[in-house]
Symmetry: C2
Subunit: 206 residues, 2 copies
């Protein structure tokens, strides 16, 4: 991927996150990126292919970290969950604009194949968490719970505060100019909450 293509993609992520795919015009994007309107089609072929390139280029942001945690034998099962929570929060906060774009697209029923591709990007993360939970249940360390819905709770909680800044601020009772995603203490607060939630829900009383 050339520098120029990356430059366009980086601005595209921002605009798509703000206005959505249909809501962003190529002229908007070209202006924001400081390039001629024709450059998008010159480099990517079409607006839709630009979007696909964007997803492809950024998709790799997810690999590796969760896997390492899940396979680290020195961690107990609950420690794995805790580290996964931290890694996931960190990952989503860092890539929150791209994450927003993925969710917008996943919610819609247009461009079916692309929506399917996005699910395939996000699903492996769920699968890793699922594996850890099921292993814990099997050993009797975790209570008998509903692994897919436990994942929904972890991911859903993060998404709930990540996807709508406005709602997040209102919920936390903060002033309008507060940016929760720039505040490290908020990430810690979220992490603490999720860890306590999972401790209480997963661990068998002993």
């Amino acid at each position: 991927m050339t520098d120029k293509k990356l430059h366009i993609i980086n601005h595209a992520v921002e605009l798509f996150a703000e206005k959505g795919f249909e809501g962003t015009s190529i002229r908007d994007l070209a202006a924001r990126a400081g390039v001629n309107v024709a450059m998008v089609n010159y480099y990517f072929g079409s607006k839709e292919k630009l979007f696909e390139s964007l997803v492809e280029e950024r998709a790799s942001y997810s690999r590796g970290v969760l896997d390492e945690i899940a396979n680290n034998a020195s961690y107990s099962d609950i420690e794995k969950i805790e580290h996964i929570i931290d890694a996931y929060i960190n990952k989503l906060f860092t890539n929150r604009k791209f994450h927003r774009v993925l969710h917008q697209e996943m919610m819609l029923s247009q461009r079916e194949t692309l929506a399917q591709a996005i699910v395939e990007i996000l699903y492996p993360n769920s699968l890793i968490i699922k594996g850890v939970i099921e292993a814990g249940i099997k050993k009797g360390v975790f209570r008998k719970c509903d692994p897919p819905l436990v994942i929904a709770s972890i991911v859903g909680t993060i998404n709930q505060v990540l996807l709508s800044k406005r709602m997040c601020i209102k919920l936390l009772d903060k002033e309008a100019d507060y940016v929760p995603y720039d505040d490290p203490s908020f990430a810690i607060r979220l992490s603490d909450h999720l860890k306590q939630l999972m401790h209480a829900h997963l661990l068998t009383k002993s």
Copy 2:
């Protein structure tokens, strides 16, 4: 609100949920609703005002039920939480297309005043839940937790399985033609999960 306006709004909700606001053209909508393209502007003035009318008309779907539960003296605090979970699942499942439209709009940074209005629609629900949780903490019935994030977990879990059918199916490991929202047993499963989650998280060990 006349029958004709409601007829148009009902079809608009469906299309907006599928394709988003920008992705839906008035010609699409007119065709789906079986009316002339000019009727939308005749009745609503503009596409954007149609959207506002839609939000206004459907916004009332949320009032009342949660309030009644929160104020019902015959319920214990944890019972209130349980009933709120059921009421909320029922409400969101029943109005899931409208709920999807709200979330799409809330994620974007266009039409700021409308996005703000949507937050004001959804926030009262959170406020009611918050009140119940804080009351429970004060009495010592509930553990000291983080009420705003507890709400994020409840609402976020439901949204996670509600807003992307594709992801939900993948997570549950179901076949592609499965429609979780038409399956009463799934609503029960989700309810059970959330109740167990909140039991474990909120209740003090005694």
